[in-house]
């Protein structure tokens, strides 16, 4: 068996162990009220796949608006202008039956929160925005955007001194990335 193949097999086994450990972590306190206790590390992760929708002109207009919002944010002179562009993107009315929008909204929110965190007193605002979108009760798309948003939430939680939220967020991000990798290898 070559080193590469052996490494791949080992890595799969290792990730199975990791996922098993994560599953065990999810069993620690299945009751939501119990998890709400201060200091509890909530590692629950519910996910769903994004299937391409039937394209519509309204859907295209939305996706174009989001791409433009990112372009304006890239060209922004400062953090304030960048945040304004990203807010405008998030404020776009969401058309019906456009599941592709979900990861885009997570990316916009994550980027906005990164920008807010650069500003004085921006961390609590960013936490208020991002934490509900990534609530463990909510299902997240199996997408890089979910992992990125969870990492940003972890960073914000570290800044805010909430180590339990930070650890849970990082762990959930890692699980999303594991799922993505599994999908890529299929």
């Amino acid at each position: 068996m070559s080193v590469g193949v052996r490494s791949s097999v080992l890595a799969r086994g290792l990730v199975a162990l990791v996922l098993g450990a994560c599953a065990s972590a999810c069993e620690v306190s299945p009751d939501a009220d119990e998890r709400a206790e201060a200091g509890a590390i909530d590692t629950r992760l519910r996910t769903h796949a994004i299937s391409p929708s039937v394209p519509t002109p309204q859907g295209l207009a939305y996706l174009e608006a989001i791409a433009d919002a990112h372009a304006r944010a890239d060209a922004a002179a400062d953090a304030e202008d960048r945040a304004a562009a990203l807010r405008q993107g998030l404020a776009q009315p969401l058309p019906a039956d456009l599941p592709e929008a979900e990861p885009l909204r997570l990316e916009l929110a994550a980027r906005l929160c990164e920008t807010l965190a650069e500003q004085p007193s921006g961390v609590p605002v960013a936490l208020d925005l991002l934490a509900p979108m990534l609530d463990p009760e909510r299902s997240l798309p199996v997408d890089r955007a979910s992992a990125r948003a969870l990492v940003v939430l972890g960073d914000l939680a570290v800044e805010a001194g909430d180590d339990a939220l930070a650890a849970g967020s990082y762990m959930r991000a890692i699980r999303v990335m594991s799922l993505l990798r599994q999908e890529l290898e299929r």
Binding site: M1, V3, G4, R6, S7, S8, V9, L10, A11, L14, V15, L17, V18, A21, C22, A25, E27, V28, S29, A38, G39, I41, P52, V54, P55, T56, P57, G59, L60, L63, E64, I66, A67, H70, A71, A73, D74, E100, L104, E107, R144, A147, R148, V151, G154, D155, V158, G161, D163, A164, A166, A167, Y170, M171, A173, I174, M177, S178, L180, R181
Partner: protein, 183 residues
């Protein structure tokens, strides 16, 4: 509910691929033949780790998972230092490819995650420098792993998605045209 349960598997069971385990078994058999004490799992780590980076990560995972022997803080620090030394002297030509790097990043991050998980009381003490340092390392590892994944450019990704969607929309419109309509 059991936060502190120990896994049944031992570190030596986690610490390497079959050929490494065979080598470990051969060493153990020779030591027994010489009347020496059988090596414990900890002593087998460098032998497993020198094979490749994955073995190092597995050994780290085993320690983080509590699968290794009971260690004093000093012994634990020595083990991590030995592992770091082995890892640091790895042949750069034998470094895993990008995909392997991702796996290793995930595994290493997960191993770091499990350290505070199996000691949850540490997480309530934000002033604990060790717990906080572990948390920061976990975040750094998660970010590195994320950085290795494609799609890191927001505008590029959003634009590509919009372009793909537009192509599908126009393709569907063309296929609905009664007489081979063109765009």
């Amino acid at each position: 509910m059991n936060r502190t349960r120990q896994p049944e598997s031992s570190l030596s069971q986690l610490a390497g691929p079959p050929d490494v385990r065979r080598e470990d078994a051969r060493i153990a058999a020779e030591l027994v033949a010489l009347g020496e004490a059988e090596p414990d799992a900890l002593e087998m780590i460098p032998a497993a780790a020198e094979a490749d980076d994955v073995a190092v990560v597995i050994a780290l995972f085993g320690l983080a998972h509590g699968a290794g022997p009971e260690l004093s803080p000093l012994e634990r620090r020595r083990v991590w230092r030995r592992l770091e030394t082995v890892h640091g002297h790895a042949d750069p030509d034998a470094a895993p490819k990008r995909g392997g790097g991702l796996w290793i990043g995930l595994a290493a991050a997960a191993a770091l995650v499990l350290v505070p998980f199996f000691a949850p009381e540490q997480m309530k003490r934000t002033s604990d420098p060790d717990a906080h340092a572990t948390l920061l390392a976990m975040g750094q590892q998660a970010k590195r792993t994320l950085g290795d994944m494609p799609g890191g450019q927001d505008q590029v990704r959003a634009r590509a998605l919009a372009d793909d969607y537009a192509a599908r929309l126009h393709g569907a419109a063309n296929s609905d045209a009664p007489t081979g309509g063109t765009r």
